[in-house]
Symmetry: C2
Subunit: 428 residues, 2 copies
């Protein structure tokens, strides 16, 4: 199988390295031949080291795509618009595609997957979600004897590192972010990760695979972690809980409940001990029961390894002319999931109110909760460093999101409530 | 694809149930047709409910196997000799095979896998190891971009339940076993599970997949859990450790280190929090880093679900004439792994000595350890309920197994050492 690779950055470089390392094994043990026929990048400088090693290289990705001897196009360049054009051209030319680009698939998958189905080509994307965890393959193949009822996942290493460090070392969000940046676990502009956008891309893809529908990532509820404070983390610990940024999927009748937001998890929950940059996907299936997969979420070789596993799959299927992956044609605008609006979801809630230490403030807050039919499971009033201020933490029983939102809005309008109130949902 | 099923017990019944439940989904969403063409069992009584439902049934498995309209034989009867004859006949007749029978594959896989390769047939066995965890598929496909350096796994739910209950509730081994039997988690004769035989079958299969060689389960070191006491569990906890029965694989140069024995694990280790009847497989891979998969290890529907996933794979591959699984022909006598003898392995050790509370006993024990060049990391002398007796626990630094064995033999011969000494290895 002749491979055309676009992108020689972290993951692209890793793929070249693994193919060099394991090509002989693939041929001898698996009987598949993976030939890196052309490497594309933007500039000659990026390509120079590969040209020196004897690879065919090009700065013209479209020329490579239209080369009739290329069987599969591997896109590892990142971004949206150029990859969209490359992959469309590759599929139009009848080539299989492998990509690690979750942003692209979340945004344009509804064009690309149906096109692939029409052209009888595969788009494989194991590396797009949880680099080192073969979760796409599990959902498409290993778990096909079971229906996924619930999925919750930690799929952004940056956020999980920050929350883990806030929990272990009592750091503030800002200090944990700085530490993550210093260690290379967060970008200089971390918005994409900490505001949950990256998790939303991945959650939309996983929810789509679980539901056989197209879940539009732009329509799912997303809250990031930038508003989580050290006080929230330590108060959660007092309640035996950990705070994690989760991607969540539930099947609710014919509708899909998919969202991304911080969650309180009991410390006994399997996801609770997944720390640092590790990723994890927890599934509750009808026949299989609960399963968890944990592994590296990102990084050069874990991600490249997933790309190479896709290439081996493809080679084994193209050699014999079979389909190797489940049909993905369902991922189309015509088959869009009906999402459960966040207002209609329900959960137990953690509320934290910052109030003046004034007479009647607790009565006012609990009065508003009562008006909104919110039952209180427990309540703690804590002194904070700031004299004259108190912190009131309320854990509610299971209530509707719309009630929670209405109560918070009313409470935030109270004269003695000084900061915007905090709200974190429990996973269960 | 026309399926012939042998066995209508727990798992066989589960497969029938899932096929009834999901056949429409497989056809509509995946485009594969799974037709249960014949159900075989030993007696007419077992078959009666299925005949009533309209299935073709038979007490003659060989006749079904030789029916030219059957594409795949699913063996869920258990045992060794009849399944060996059935599967040999099925493969000779050019039929694919799906089985959950780890004992059969560990014992006769070296005949069956090469025969399958010769006949261009598949043997799929996802359900044979860790029912609810798609670990076979992961090793064969998802992790193929990486080489497995180390594997450790909890793959016997009975043992894990017993050890978990000893740890959580301070039960003795005997009481925990009785509880497991009362809950249906252990057989009336639990030998096969508690002595580690079942784990050895599964570990041999996993080690074979990791090493592309045939690991003979009869040659790997096996110690079960029947000698683990409540005192060992609580002392391990004092050292921040949990005791688990692990299957272990290490690649050591061109040799394979595969074994099954109880292990001390630090509480932070991912396997440490896998409790009850859950199974888990931890892998350390060169490119992928560490990954863990956890899920139901046994049970009617989890195991049946894995069988059905294999059937879907097969249907997708037979419809197009492709191979769907990695070649397993390496699993043959000609390609037997060279095993590292247990004497040549090394680990940190936990020793527990029961001694008379007599002058000089500690000096005698530590003297023998010193003669065998065993460095002590820590040592605790504890009083026990029995007056006149003491318990001495030694944690060693990393030493060779042969030194540990020699020292224990000498110590057991000391006049003041009253019971056989306990030895448990640390995982790391």
């Amino acid at each position: 199988m002749r491979i055309g690779l676009i992108g020689t950055g972290t993951v692209g470089g890793g793929v070249i390295e693994i193919l060099e390392q394991r090509a002989k094994y693939f041929q001898e043990a698996l009987g598949v031949q993976l030939e890196l026929a052309c490497i594309c990048a933007k500039t000659d400088e990026e390509l120079a080291p590969f040209r020196e090693k004897g690879y065919a290289v090009s700065t013209d990705a479209f020329a490579m795509i239209n080369d009739s001897t290329i069987d599969v196009v591997v896109e590892l360049a990142g971004g949206y618009e150029m990859p969209r054009r490359w992959l469309t051209a590759a599929l139009e030319a009848g080539k299989h595609v492998v990509t690690a680009n979750k942003a692209l698939l979340a945004k344009y998958g509804h064009e690309l997957f149906p096109l692939a189905e029409e052209k009888d080509c595969h788009i494989l994307f194991e590396a797009a979600v949880g680099g080192g965890i073969p979760i796409i393959r599990s959902l498409q193949e290993g778990l096909v004897g079971s229906s996924v009822e619930h999925l919750s996942c930690i799929i952004n290493g940056t956020c999980n590192y920050i929350l883990s460090r806030m929990s272990e070392a009592g750091l503030s969000f800002e200090d944990a972010l700085k530490e993550a940046q210093a260690k290379g676990f967060a970008e200089a502009d971390p918005t994409f990760d900490i505001e949950g956008i990256d998790s939303a891309h991945k959650t939309a893809l996983l929810a789509s695979l679980c539901s056989d529908t197209h879940v539009d990532f732009e329509k799912i509820h997303v809250t990031g972690i930038s508003q989580i404070t050290a006080e929230d983390i330590s108060t959660a610990a007092d309640f035996g809980c950990t705070v994690k940024l989760l991607g969540i999927y539930h099947r609710v009748g014919n509708r899909v409940d998919a969202r991304v937001h911080p969650c309180l998890l009991p410390k006994e929950h399997l996801l609770s001990s997944v720390n640092g940059v590790l990723n994890a996907v927890f599934l509750q299936c009808d026949n299989l029961g609960p399963t968890l997969q944990t592994g590296a979420g990102a990084g050069r070789l874990p991600t490249a390894s997933a790309v190479v596993a896709d290439l081996v799959s493809l080679a084994r299927s193209t050699d014999t002319g079979s389909r190797c992956a489940l049909p993905m044609g369902f991922f189309s605008k015509e088959n869009e999931a009906e999402l459960v609006p966040i207002e209609e979801t329900s959960a137990r809630y953690y509320f934290r109110f910052a109030a003046k230490d004034a007479c009647g403030v607790l009565a006012a807050i609990t009065g508003i909760l009562a008006q909104n039919e919110i039952s209180i499971e427990s309540i703690i009033q804590k002194n904070v460093n700031d004299p004259g201020k108190v912190s009131i933490v309320v854990i509610t029983e299971k209530i509707l999101e719309c009630k929670a939102a209405a109560a918070l809005q009313a409470i935030d309008a109270l004269p003695n409530v000084v900061d915007k109130s905090q709200m974190i949902r429990f996973l269960m």
